[in-house]
Amino acid sequence: MKNLIPLLLSTAALVACEPSTGTSSENESGTEKGAAFQSTYSPQAPTNVLLRNATLIDGVSSEIQTGDLLVSDGKIGFVGSGEIPEGVTELDLDGRFVTPGIIDIHSHLGNYPSPSVQAHSDGNEVTSPITSEVYAEHGVWPQDPGFDEALQGGVTTLHVLPGSANLFGGRGVTLRNVPSRTVQGMKFPGAPYTLKMACGENPKRVYGNKGGPGSRMGNVAGYRKNWIKAQGYKAKRDKGGDYDRDLQLETLADVLDGKILIQMHCYRADEMVQILDLAKEFDYKVTTFHHAVEAYKIGDYLAENDTCAAMWADWGAFKMESFDYINENIPFVHAAGACAMIHSDDQNNIQRLNQEVAKTWADGNRAGLDIPKADAWKWLSTNPAKALGILEETGTLEAGKRADIVIWDGDPFSTYGRPATVMVDGVVLFDRETGLKPKSDFRLGYADLTEGPK
């Protein structure tokens, strides 16, 4: 890193600008009046910087380009070339890769934090198969050291979901990966809520001896019974006037109103197609299948229904419904014309999602596909942004979007390439060269030890 000046400036800005406490009148969360737990996130003072001579993967084009990128007031000013404001600091990247910040659509950081003691197990309300009334954010511990490590892996936005024990698991929350004392200070302003649902082995295993469901038949019956209830609730709510508020049905009715996006844990190909039929019966949309280990068998159905799949590169065989895993799942779904993406579901792999994509991309091309790197990048940011309803704001390098940016010290499609600098909303939150990085309260004391000399 030749020119350190802008990065050091941003460090100073970090110190100078404490996060807003949430009393701000210009809260941009866009949630309904009276809604609880609103986002209090507002970006710290951003860096204005012109990144010169970058190798740009923008998440839109199928080609890697070279050029400049302007970061201005927390937004992307231009990509490639454009009007340069007077006096802006310039940083010559000497051809280094610049990409959008990575978005992980399936994380349990905060609700299954490190250290993983029983007292920290807040990600799954395993008390009933129907818990659409719970919110993942109420189980998120902002001091999970995993957030800090994920940031160093280039993750600027992540979606935290409840676990998969239940048919209706609860609401997921989209977070900015920013240092904060509260989860409200991390919530992505205006991002839609999601509803976690689960197929297959988990619900029937967990509830088989606790009143059911005890089979895949029971799973589907459980979904249908509750969608019928939700239709009734919605009809009452639509009519206006007095009605008893029911948190469980409120979430489901919001799905039927199109306000909440369905994120559904589902492994088997045949089961995913059953769920697409279920969604037609009750007139809602499945936004994304998660894990989707057999999605490669039904890429055509996914494309036809405009349903995304969030997948691993090479995980499987840990249970029967993941037995048919292949390393080419993501590129095969992509080649079928469906919306494919990587996800981690893991505190370790979230730190290296670029490598996970590199593996599956290379395997897909080895199997006879011809997917350009720049298209494969979309599995890391563009498609997860789409599936979370935040593509208007982030996920690509386009003028006017949030400046969520990773500068790499090598090729992101390599074992040896790592993020050098990570910006969220134009604020440098991680910089390898200067040692700038967030440190969880939990790391203190331990962290002092772990930073000793070799």
């Binding site: 490190s114 250290p115 993983s116 003691v117 050291p145 995993g146 490590e149 082995e201 490669y296 068998k297 890429g299 090479d314 995980w315 499987g316 065989a317 840990f318 249970k319 029967m320 037995f323 048919d324 895993y325 292949i326 390393n327 080419e328 095969f332 080649a335 079928a336 505190q347 370790n348 730190q351 290296r352 490598q355 590199a358 593996k359 991309w361 290379a362 395997d363 080895r366 199997a367 006879g368 596909l369 499609f413 390599s414 074992t415 040896y416 790592r418 939990f442 790391r443 331990y446 030890l449 772990t450 070799k454």
Partner: protein, 410 residues
Amino acid sequence: MKKLLLISAALAFSSSANAQTIFVDDATVVAPNGAQSKADVIVVDGVIQRRGARLAAPDGADVVTGGWVTPGLFASMSSLGMSDIGSSGPGNDVSSESSETNVSEYAVDSFNPRSVHIANVRQNGITHAVIAPRSGSNSIFAGTGAIISLSGGFDSVLDPEAFVMVDLGETGTRRAGGSRAAAMSQFRSAIEDAEGFARRYSEAPDGGDVLTRQDAKAFTRAVRGEIPLLIRVNRAADMMRLIDIKKDNPSMSMIFVGAAEAWEVADDIAAADIRVIIDPLKNLPDSFESAGSRLDNVIFLENAGVDYAISNLGALGVTKPATLAQHAGAAVVEGLSWGQAFDAISSIPSQWFKVRGRSVVVWDGDPLEVTSAPIAMSIDGTPQSMTSRQKALRDRYNPSTTDERPYKYR
């Protein structure tokens, strides 16, 4: 005529899978000691036929540029062939939750060389592996582990009695009844049971303090240092206690597995002549005993002169070794040389576990790169199939296929 055409297409496919000659033009050749050199290499069915400075490509050979030719990788921790799926049940023999025995449980008895996961994992260039049980019931002793080759043959067990596996730390604590003191008491007592085997068990089969007769007997070789003890341990303080036990029993050979906080006591580990298997990607404080985890743990070990191997301990269960090379690559990013990292997943554990013979892997690029893959392999001169259940599924559902038959007929 349509049917006939399909049959001939299938025949063409199967014959191309046989007698594969590869000309690796200007290959990077890696010696068993990790040293790199350049040569043209002719490989027939995964076996090196010729290497030289300027060879001509044989007629009909597949020409590979940018290829690498290396020894096979050695996975120094796995449970390959011991389970079909990770979730518990009849397909999973990795641990026995309610058995009466422990050290005398041999991983090799649970090992199925025909497990589909062996061929799946072999596609990652891995030719040999440690297979180890996990502790169950109320003993810190998981059992006795083996060394296998990944040929998938019934002769693939190279050493059925290669080491004794011990779980200490938080897992061992739970097994032993709830405290580290209980786990260490069990460990020390078991050593005494095995050392005094002839005396203690001569009159009564239950003459030992903690081990039954068959387990004490199975433990004697490890106590005499004829085979190593592999000990899962992460906290620096736990490792220091084990170093003390090693001082009292200098003939014992110990290998720490995990060793998240080894960097803190690297000099003591080196001085005690204890070897270490670590995961260079372990950096989260995901338990209190690994609160000191850091990515450059391996660099401390290297600088202190510790004899170490690299494993991908943090990867998922059944097919764990698959991502071994990726984890070794992480150590290069932290500052190991390429050769040091490669040795730690090949020659070093091979020597530890006395695996001789020559395995060859031809790669389409740097084996530590996530985008590289093997294109041919052999183990001790025997060609290895480059197909697997995963690849069969891949081929059946490949969107670039021209095969239009219904899926179940492909």
